[in-house]
Symmetry: C2
Subunit: 219 residues, 2 copies
């Protein structure tokens, strides 16, 4: 049985290995875990001894097959609980993460499976992230694409943005657009590449500059 801390490390390593591809450095993991590199070294040794990650001094670490399986189980629980909180308990999608961080550590496979069934075997969480099934598998279909690639009448869920400037976030906030926001393309204008979209029951026109920076998942 893993401690919460061990579980959180495995989850963080999984997240980093999804984006990076290469072995995860001690410093990178320390930053992700909001802790010190020396603490990471200790934990990484322990997880390696237990067989959940591979680790060579000074060479970073990476999940083993078993470690990955466990990470996916935690992610599965996290996302199922998020669905529960939003769909059943009427939480906003922006406030569920913290609570799910706690709920993901509840140990009871039966609970997870019953919850999944109760929720109707959802494929994605309220942020649009895929939910692994019992066996740790999930659909990779949902690759994120820039909003500009969506065709008329298609819809998607905001999954991220490219530009990290606060100006841009200000702009998004102005229209109440955040992670998980649903966007439907109403019309596309080829003469200037702008798109007319429907968001939160409002129609907005986005320049191609903007529509290339907003990343969505097709629905």
């Amino acid at each position: 049985m893993l401690t919460q801390s061990e579980e959180n490390y495995l989850k963080a390593i999984y997240a980093l290995s999804e984006t990076g591809g290469e072995a995860i450095s001690t410093n990178l993991l320390a930053e992700k875990m909001a802790t010190k590199p020396s603490s990471v070294t200790d934990m990484v040794k322990k997880l390696s001894d237990k067989g959940f990650i591979s680790y060579q001094k000074y060479q970073g670490c990476d999940l083993t097959v078993i470690g990955k399986k466990i990470a996916l189980e935690i992610i599965r629980k996290h996302r199922l609980w998020e669905v529960f909180l939003v769909e059943k308990l009427n939480f906003g999608w922006e406030e569920v993460h913290e609570i799910a961080e706690q709920l993901e550590h509840i140990q009871s496979p039966k609970l997870t499976d019953h919850l999944e069934e109760y929720l109707g075997f959802p494929k994605v969480d309220p942020h649009g992230d895929p939910i692994p099934d019992k066996n740790g598998l999930f659909e990779v279909l949902n690759k994120s694409i820039p909003l500009s690639e969506l065709n008329v009448a298609e819809k998607g869920i905001v999954i991220g943005v490219e530009d990290g400037s606060s100006d841009f976030f200000q702009f998004l906030k102005r229209y109440n657009i955040g992670l998980g926001t649903e966007i439907i393309v109403a019309e596309k204008f080829s003469f200037d590449q702008s798109v007319l979209v429907k968001v939160n029951h409002t129609e907005i026109s986005f320049s191609s500059l903007v529509s290339n920076k907003i990343f969505i998942q097709k629905r």
Copy 2:
């Protein structure tokens, strides 16, 4: 913010003070917590320093007003989750305790309140125990008594059990006894305190051990 261990101690002290009335001794609490008296002394000092219990060396401890409030919040969460597990996720009433032991430590007052509303403000949990409201208040109506206190020819309805072990639940299941089951006392044997009861058209003899653990409401 309290640790899980601190919360469990407060819960245990509350449970003991409900039955005993007097201050709770170190040994008693150690037994309840399945730990050593020396560990209890340490924890009890800490909880006293924090103002959740009153404690004088060699004199045992008792909850302060604040401590009691916290204990009731934990019990409230525990019982609400039990209702959720049984009513919504189709768990048996005998298998929810362990899972609720974990869920009761989730920190989010908003979650608790939303859950309560979602469940329709239940008054009792699946074991028949009352659920404290937001302010720590609950109805003391439905007083239940152990089956052993019933006289010959009296009947009652099962409203809860004291022992939380799965062995005991197994035993009850074997005889098809659950919440709401009607039991009639056919005979009582004073020489060993056993009772002969009629349940589901079958006669069963219960040892005093068992008849003290089954709680019923007179009918």
